[in-house]
């Protein structure tokens, strides 16, 4: 294809997105659109899968059967969300094996938040409330993103996600209505998860390299700073309802702009974690690799069984 032809196709493509038409897998798309989507959707899928690990840590130690079934269901949902997203990503012409390999080799990223440890039961509450809360804010606008399979996956994810946040908040509520010690546990969890949750919504608009292009492709419909402000504004009253204090001395309602002002975020910490130096980066990747390697015999057995069944069927058909 000549350069002029590509330019022409690109112009048609941009116009299509501007008209709010969806792009489907077999449609022509600029190579950069394909690559950016593979990067973002796979990052999202990896986050769901790695996101199971910090919570898996507490399934066997949940304080009651009610909490245990809820946590199990939440973690199972996350596996499901990972699968929806991997499938969407594969429609762009990358294999599942390649996606896993990129995660296991450290080439692909996943959300920085999952590189923090889950130290107490209260962390299950804080994760559901804050981390899933931030995820929902990020995901709702993606339901109308331009790439059809991604948008459809996000609709399913968002439908299922709201129970996650509610179960987390309920855990916090029980702790806050409990003993002094339990309330301290809840406060401690909020103290540790607050800032990483704010960072999870991504670097500031000024430092974000992909924002402009992503907005044009509707891969992003609000900037990181807008999403962060929305998260803070809706979460502060929820903390008040719990009787907990947000660990930010600079947090203050600003009447004029109709939203909260907040303190400086430690972006050095964020970049350290993104680059692999968070408290749990190594453990998370080791766990993923082990799960993949230890599960190899299951995949091999399934392949062998399917081959054997097929052969049997063919033999029976011949005999008849």
């Amino acid at each position: 294809m000549s350069e002029a032809e590509i330019k022409n196709l690109e112009a048609q493509f941009d116009a299509k997105i501007a008209r709010d038409e969806k792009i489907e897998p077999k449609d022509w798309m600029p190579e950069k659109y394909r690559k950016t989507h593979i990067r973002q959707i796979s990052q999202h899928a990896h986050s769901e899968i790695v996101g199971m690990l910090p919570e898996g840590n507490w399934i066997t130690r949940a304080p009651s059967l009610r909490r245990k079934v809820a946590l199990l269901a939440k973690v199972q949902d996350e596996a499901g969300h990972g699968l929806y997203l991997y499938s969407a990503c594969e429609t762009l012409g990358i294999t599942r094996e390649q996606l896993y390999e990129d995660l296991h080799s450290g080439k692909a990223k996943y959300s920085s938040i999952f590189n923090y440890p889950t130290m107490t039961w209260a962390d299950m509450g804080a994760i559901g409330w804050l981390v899933d809360g931030a995820a929902i804010i990020n995901q709702v606008p993606l339901c109308s993103t331009s790439f059809g399979p991604y948008a459809r996956a996000m609709v399913r994810v968002c439908k299922e996600e709201s129970f996650h946040q509610r179960q987390g908040y309920e855990i916090m509520l029980s702790l806050c209505n409990g003993s002094e010690e339990q309330k301290e546990m809840a406060q401690d969890a909020l103290n540790r998860w607050w800032w990483p949750s704010l960072m999870m919504l991504g670097p500031t608009d000024a430092a974000s390299t992909h924002t402009e292009q992503s907005m044009k492709w509707k891969l992003k419909r609000k900037t990181n700073d807008e999403l962060r402000q929305q998260f803070i504004d809706q979460t502060v009253p929820q903390a008040e309802l719990l009787g907990l204090t947000i660990p930010d001395p600079d947090l203050k309602w600003n009447d004029e702009k109709g939203s909260y002002d907040f303190g400086a975020i430690d972006w050095d910490e964020f970049w350290q974690v993104v680059k692999g130096h968070g408290p749990m980066n190594k453990k998370r990747l080791d766990d993923r690799r082990n799960a993949w390697n230890d599960g190899a015999w299951v995949r091999e057995a399934a392949t062998a069984y399917a081959a054997k069944q097929k052969l049997k069927k063919e033999e029976t058909a011949q005999a008849v």
């Binding site: 499901g80 929806y84 499938s87 459809r152 399913r156 299922e160 399917a306």
Partner: protein, 94 residues
């Protein structure tokens, strides 16, 4: 062992009276495994009363490049629509 496990497309009937609709895909070695996985991945909240799984390679799809020749012939056949016909306003029940 680097052969990809086959890809399947999943279709769900959400309730009797409605058609099966495509809802996503998954990997499975055979139809039985695809069915079991489809149940776990796509119907965790009573989303369906019936599941179809079809191995993706068995689907023949039209190509977007052929959209013109396939679908454009229909756009100039306005006489296939009821609004094409000019009838008096007093005419009722038609």
């Amino acid at each position: 062992m680097s052969q990809e496990i086959p890809l399947w497309e999943v279709f769900i009937r959400s309730k009797n009276g409605l058609e099966h609709r495509h809802c996503g895909s998954l990997h499975a070695e055979d139809a039985e495994m695809a069915m079991n996985n489809a149940r776990d991945v796509y119907t965790r909240r009573n989303e369906g009363v019936s599941i179809w799984v079809v191995e993706s390679k068995n689907i023949t799809a039209s190509s977007p490049e052929a959209s013109g020749e396939l679908f454009e012939p229909a756009t100039d056949k306005v006489y296939r629509h009821p609004t094409f016909y000019e009838l008096p306003e007093e005419l009722k029940h038609m």
